[in-house]
């Protein structure tokens, strides 16, 4: 078991013939991902790493029954590609692109919600079920970063995820599924929406959340724990605790505004709910042991 993807998930790659699309298709296949089709308008009939290319998602789905799609398209085309996937009945979509206009992201998330689908991203490394399958751009080939195990990971970051996950592995743990919700101000899936999946997944014993200043996603996780939607142990690391107020440091989502979204506020909410929070990445492993021992 796992959440979102496993060996059987029939993965479509939109933008497969591009540089990134073909590069990561090779690596997704390398990890064992069941990549069944690719889409690039005008390139039907070609193949990439042995994967058939179609002109439209509709056609690809008809021919291959693809049930999940990962998008390697530039941010300006993310909305169109995501809508194309949703309209073809695909219920799991991962958008890697960084720089999606926020109004587009609103529309994508709105459409996904009304169609009962889950769009992960944008500005994310994607989803990986360690040792089974991935939709995205993970350095799974570096042993000390993504090893199979029973800790679910959810994150807003890229490089920081590698950093923190490495600490988890170092402490003897492994990862069930890692889902990057992305670093944008309007992520199309929010942390709290992943919790029911982790809760249900028998292979996930606990969850590590890698959060950041800004927004209210971490507070929503605290609410989900308080209301018993999620009852497994949860350890959080939250970046930006010393960031100066009002300065825009990195991710668009990481702006401290109107007294909300401070790291202090997030930590208080999480600890009140019973989660453990790591002050530094290197403490994540020990805290996870503590959480599981409770």
């Amino acid at each position: 078991m796992s959440i979102l993807i496993n060996k059987k998930t029939k993965v479509l790659v939109q933008g497969i013939t591009g540089g990134e699309g073909s590069f990561w298709t090779k690596h997704m296949l390398g990890l064992g991902t069941n990549v069944v089709a690719g889409v690039t308008p005008g390139k039907e009939g070609q193949s990439v790493e042995g994967v058939k290319v179609f002109n439209t998602v509709k056609h690809a789905v008809k021919e291959t029954d693809a049930d999940a799609s990962v998008l390697f398209v530039p941010p300006a085309f993310a909305k169109d590609a995501a809508f194309e996937a949703l309209s073809a009945g695909i219920k799991k979509v991962v958008i890697i692109a960084e720089g999606i206009p926020i109004h587009d992201a609103m529309e994508i998330r709105s459409a996904a919600m009304s169609e009962g689908a889950m769009v992960i991203g944008g500005n994310t490394s994607g989803i990986i079920t360690a040792g089974e399958a991935m939709m995205g751009i993970f350095p799974y080939w570096i042993d000390r970063v993504y090893k199979k195990g029973d800790i679910g990971v959810m994150t807003r970051s890229g490089s920081l995820t590698n950093e923190v996950t490495a600490m988890l592995i170092k402490a003897g743990f492994g990862v069930s599924t890692l889902a990057g919700v992305g670093g944008d101000a309007v992520p199309c899936t929010r942390f709290a929406e992943l919790l029911p999946l982790f809760q249900k997944d028998k292979k996930t014993r606990a969850v590590l959340m890698i959060g950041e200043l800004g927004g209210t996603m971490e507070e929503e996780v605290a609410d989900a724990i308080e209301s018993k939607i999620f009852t497994k142990p949860l350890v959080a690391f939250i970046a930006g605790r010393t960031a100066p107020k009002g300065k825009k440091m990195g991710h668009a989502g990481a702006i401290v505004t109107a007294g909300k979204g401070t790291v202090d506020g997030k930590i208080k909410a999480l600890e009140k709910a019973g989660a453990l929070t790591a002050a530094r990445p290197c403490l994540a492993g020990d805290l996870m042991k503590e959480a599981l021992a409770r």
């Binding site: 709105s110 670093g183 200043l213 970046a239 990195g250 991710h251 530094r280 990445p281």
Partner: protein, 374 residues
């Protein structure tokens, strides 16, 4: 990108939202012409992006030409260093209304917020009396409907002509919100004047940077930054902030860079600049190092853990930058991720001692920055 007040008001005017009589001046020489447009009393409003302009003395009232000239001179003085002043007619305000449209990221709707207690203390009211803020959500696939504008305007207690004008103003604001890919459109205060008119006395307008490819009317300018370095880094697409500490950061990934920043503070160090050169910039080590050196660091700390941003490519970039720039300050690295073995080799060949643990690297940088030997 945040727009300046004068830009916001130009957009408002174009959309039919009433704004005060006004004229922008960039030096004292334009004052007389501006005053002939506004009359007296007038307001001199420094065009800076920071909040709390009133309390900082950046907004001044004047009743005579002489007073206006004196205060203009003061604002343009090197001490205040204001680059543009919006000269405006002073309004006779009876009531200050708050009106804003932003994004609700959970619902993914456009969120309209309004309060009849607008003005300077709106953030305080939002915290202490949240029931005084009227909210209305707009489905992103539909436009603002007239009934929603009416809900807001009745909620604000408006009636008669002011009510009708309020509906028009909010409808126009919503059009601008969508047309310009806005993160925020705010009028505060929307002034209910003695003569019954509603006028946008001040405005904030923030355009999504990710939409800049389709919003070409507004460009980031030097005025948006507090110093030249941040401005020049932004032209290169490199996220950069200047501080007055000792460690120059060159990191990749916002989350990791923030974390390194936190760790430096944790270990008692200080930062001279924040800089990300990962993602699309991971081949820009030379430019990144140039900007970093301009913050006068005592040590450069490079921390990366990349996947697409290959460690070997970044290391080679750093090696090349060192060869070209010959920095005199020591460099501490923890460069990990795809190609990390090759990266370590390249760095060793340059005489550096690559570390593999972030905290080790941070501690080493802090030690050196506080006077420890390299």
């Amino acid at each position: 990108m945040k727009l300046f007040e004068y830009q916001a008001k130009d957009i408002f005017e174009e959309a039919g939202i009433p704004v005060p009589k006004r004229k922008l001046i960039e030096s004292a020489s334009g004052l007389d012409e501006a005053l002939s447009a506004t009359g007296f009393p007038c307001v001199l409003k420094s065009q800076v992006l920071q909040g709390g302009r009133g309390k900082a003395g950046l907004i001044q009232f004047a009743k005579t030409g002489q007073e206006a000239a004196e205060k203009t001179g003061m604002l343009f003085s090197p001490e205040k260093n204001v680059r543009k002043i919006l000269v405006e007619e002073a309004l006779k305000i009876e009531k200050e209304i708050y009106l804003a449209i932003t994004i609700d990221p959970v619902d993914c709707s456009a969120l309209i917020m309004a309060s009849s207690e607008g003005g300077m203390d709106i953030e305080e009211i939002a915290l202490t009396k949240p029931d005084r803020i009227i909210k209305e959500k707009v489905n992103v696939f539909r436009s603002l409907m007239p009934y929603q504008a009416r809900n807001i305007m009745f909620g604000l207690g408006l009636s008669g002509e002011a009510f009708k004008q309020g509906v028009k103003i909010l409808t126009a604001m919503f059009g601008l919100f969508r047309k310009y890919d806005a993160e925020l459109v705010e009028i505060n205060p929307l002034a209910l004047c003695g003569d019954g008119r509603l006028i946008a006395a001040d405005g904030k307008f923030s355009i999504d940077d990710n939409a800049s490819y389709r919003q070409k009317n507004f460009a980031v300018s030097r005025d948006h930054f507090s110093n030249d370095i941040e401005y020049e880094a932004s032209l290169e697409g490199i996220p950069y902030l200047l501080f007055d500490g000792k460690i120059g950061l060159m990191c990749a990934g916002a989350g990791l860079t923030n974390t390194v920043y936190d760790l430096i503070n944790h270990y008692g160090g200080s930062v001279s600049n924040y800089l990300e050169f990962g993602g699309p910039n991971y081949r820009k080590a030379l430019e990144a190092m140039k900007f970093t050196l301009r913050s006068n660091p005592r040590v450069i700390l490079i921390v990366t853990f990349g996947t697409i941003a290959r460690a070997d490519v970044m290391a080679q970039g750093i090696a090349d930058a060192i060869k070209e720039l010959k920095p005199e300050v020591p460099i501490v690295t923890a460069i990990r991720g795809t190609g990390e073995e090759d990266a370590a080799k390249i760095l060793r060949e340059m005489g550096l001692t690559p570390l593999s643990d972030t905290e080790d690297a941070v501690r080493e940088a802090v030690r050196i920055s506080e006077g420890g030997l390299k």
